[in-house]
């Protein structure tokens, strides 16, 4: 299997990640195109074909973050989390997230909620939750420690949950006492 085919297999992931990171189609196109070019040039550095997705996403992420650093847009937001708050718990109630929120909000709203995250948080959500990469792969891509990854992932998920929860409530879905599973 040649590199072009390997890239094509993961083009959807590259495109979606680029689109969410840049939030502009033209910029996303440039980013994916740069990534593809770099992948073709540095094809020898791919150690294992089983890791091609993580390898491509690492190129994409590095290209994006280097550009961000040049523009000084990157904000570091690491907080020592307590890891105590359950994800399906808010405002004093447990609730069924799927029933109450995910089934009600539009896909666009989920995209918007992801787009609103800062780059640090967005990157971990995209790589861990959306692309399903292993923690170790993400730590390698973003060059962060396991503690930092855990902290960002924990916080990013809660920020997303809050956005989706607020959206669902604003549109009359869920959040009411009768819908709450306590």
């Amino acid at each position: 299997m040649n590199m072009e085919t390997l890239i094509e297999d993961h083009l959807d992931s590259l495109w979606y990640t680029a689109l969410r990171l840049t939030r502009h189609k033209e910029e996303a196109e440039d980013l994916v195109q740069d990534t593809c070019m770099k992948a073709l040039i540095h094809r020898d550095s791919l150690q294992s074909r089983s890791k091609v997705k993580a390898w491509l996403l690492k190129i994409l992420m590095n290209t994006f973050l280097n550009h961000q650093r040049k523009d000084k847009k990157l904000i570091q937001q690491d907080i020592d989390e307590d890891f105590l708050e359950p994800i399906f718990y808010k405002n004093g109630h447990y609730f069924d997230m799927e029933e109450e929120i995910f089934s009600k909000v539009l896909d666009d709203e989920v995209q918007k909620a992801i787009d609103q995250l800062s780059v640090d948080f967005k990157a971990v959500i995209l790589l861990v939750d959306i692309e399903g990469l292993a923690y170790r792969e993400v730590e390698d891509i973003l060059e962060i420690s396991s503690g930092t990854l855990a902290s960002r992932l924990y916080r990013a998920r809660r920020l997303l949950r809050t956005s989706l929860y607020d959206y669902a409530q604003a549109h009359g879905f869920g959040g009411g006492e009768e819908n709450v599973v306590s």
Binding site: Q33, F83, I87, G132
Partner: protein, 249 residues
């Protein structure tokens, strides 16, 4: 092991390369702790729900072809050139805009400056040429400003003159004395666009004369031979109007 440490341990190391004693202890804790079990399952469940909710549209065919086809060198150069031109044009626009805001003054700003300058040079201070002869003053201005200064025939005592700057342009300030008060006559050859808003307008010697009240001062304004005249003093409204009426402006 406490719940906090258990969650931290398992959150940070999903599948450790080797099972450490700490990780094993955390796993044992989860088996006996429904809250921690629920917490960790919730985290995984959220990730799965999120993945499902994000409907991944495939890359459109045209875009796919474009993305997979590396751009030719001249295309990259062209795109970068366009970007550079766009940045250049934006920068130029910003410079022009900044210049406009910094250097442009409205006519009302000019009138405020006239009052300020009159106060600054009160008591005939800053006088650069002292003379009661109009010709001397006119001749002196020839080497100072780049427009011919035409002095009106004011029925006040000519005392001298100096230059002053408006919008970074050198203009004329002529000093007179009338009824014991200094009368400053500013003669400008450039004035920002915009009407001078007057409290009253008179016709004197066939010219439209406007009277303005600015910061407690009466300013008389008229135009002649392409120049803009502003007369200001501490005289009362009636006195300065009388001076204007009795003069040949």
């Amino acid at each position: 092991m406490l719940c906090l440490e258990t969650r931290k341990t398992l959150y940070t190391s999903e599948y450790p390369a080797s099972a450490t004693p700490k990780w094993l202890e955390a796993m044992r804790h989860v088996e006996d702790c429904p809250e921690c079990k629920s917490f960790l399952e919730g985290e995984k469940s959220f990730g799965t729900l999120l993945q499902k909710a994000v409907r991944k549209h495939g890359v459109p065919k045209e875009l796919k072809e474009r993305l997979l086809k590396p751009p030719k060198t001249h295309e990259i150069t062209r795109r970068k050139s366009i970007q550079r031109i766009a940045i250049g044009v934006s920068a130029l626009f910003l410079v022009i805009l900044s210049f406009f805001f910094i250097y442009h003054k409205s006519s009302s700003d000019i009138i405020s400056q006239i009052v300020d300058d009159h106060l600054q040079f009160k008591g005939f201070s800053g006088i650069q040429v002292q003379s009661s002869a109009p010709e001397v003053i006119k001749t002196w201005y020839k080497g100072e400003v780049n427009f011919p200064v035409h002095l009106p025939g004011l029925t006040a005592q000519l005392r001298g003159a100096r230059c002053c700057f408006f919008n970074h342009v050198k203009e004329a300030l002529v000093y007179y004395e009338y009824k014991g008060s200094q009368v400053s006559l500013f003669i400008l050859h450039k004035l920002p666009e915009g009407n001078i808003k007057a409290q009253k307008t008179y016709q004197i010697n066939g010219k439209q004369v406007k009277i303005l009240d600015v910061q407690g001062h009466t300013v008389v304004y008229w135009q002649n031979k392409g120049l803009y005249y502003f007369l200001i003093s501490e005289l009362s409204h009636d006195e300065i109007l009388q001076l204007t009426r009795t003069s040949h402006i």
